[in-house]
């Protein structure tokens, strides 16, 4: 999100490894700002959240999908999709879905993700290194 700022924003980076450590870095003035996901930030206690202020939030990004390689036959792709959707109907299975970040599953497609093509991921994320 910051890599896409225009004009380009130059800044120093640090990688403390977890959202909690990012928050600590900011609260202890080791970093001037922190970056994380809303879903991670929302897990923090109210007294922690009361000590920080949001400067920017991005548009919504679809969560991690289960995706199929084109070599996988269509009937198999459909069977997997149907199975994941049906697992949500049983409480015990729904718990399994939450464990793997597929809570309340919905069907998706590349249309949900193509808006991210504006980001040069390989360059900005040091892809594969």
């Amino acid at each position: 999100m910051l890599s896409g700022q225009k004009p380009a924003l130059t800044f120093e980076k640090e990688y403390p490894g977890s959202t909690q450590n990012v928050i600590k870095s900011v609260l202890l003035n080791k970093a001037d700002a922190g970056v994380t996901l809303n879903t991670e930030l929302n897990k923090e206690a109210p007294d922690v959240l009361s000590q920080i202020r949001t400067l920017l939030q991005t548009q919504e990004i679809p969560s991690h999908p289960l995706a199929a390689h084109p070599r996988v036959p269509q009937p198999v792709q459909k069977a997997v999709t149907k199975a994941v959707l049906s697992l949500d109907k049983m409480p015990a299975d729904a718990k399994l879905l939450r464990e793997v970040w597929l809570a309340y599953p919905v069907t998706t497609g590349y249309d949900d993700y193509c808006k991210l093509e504006v980001i040069d991921v390989k360059k900005n994320s040091n892809w594969g290194n």
Partner: protein, 144 residues
């Protein structure tokens, strides 16, 4: 009579030999599922195996979970010729995998995520432009 019986048996074996290998190959198909290494391999395995087993029961298909020790290893794998049959990856990785291999997203959790830039409440910074030249903490090097 015995000769005729042998002929029938041979025909039966020949007939079965046409169909059995295909049936067996079909049954033996195992689909690989590569999972983004958000957690260490053991933790990923612990979280995902109950789901994979349940998915197998529900579909009647075999899946093999593929876990990775390093993000770099996963990112290489999903754009390589031997890429997994299924992947679970973040939105940006799926976008790259789609461009490289034409992976198609099938299903996802309903929730959506937003990136947040935040400061201490008493920070003088009022916009991201005020962060020029400042020190910014990210969870990891893959957080854009």
């Amino acid at each position: 009579m015995i000769r005729r019986g042998s002929e029938i048996l041979l025909l039966l074996v020949a007939w079965l030999s046409i169909f059995l290998p295909n049936a067996s190959a079909e049954q033996a198909t195992t689909y690989t599922l590569g999972v983004v290494p958000t957690f260490p391999p053991v933790a990923t395995h612990t979280r995902w195996m109950p789901f994979v087993e349940r998915l197998s029961q529900e579909t009647g298909l075999d899946f093999r979970l593929k876990v990775y020790a390093q993000m770099a290893e996963f990112e290489h794998d999903i754009v390589s010729p031997g890429a997994p049959d299924f992947i679970f990856a973040n939105a940006l990785q799926v976008m790259v995998a789609h461009k490289a291999q034409n992976y198609q997203p099938l299903v996802r959790g309903k929730g959506q995520v937003r990136g947040i830039v935040f400061v201490r409440k008493d920070s003088p910074s009022r916009s991201v432009n005020d962060l020029a030249g400042k020190r910014i903490a990210f969870v990891g090097a893959k957080n854009l």
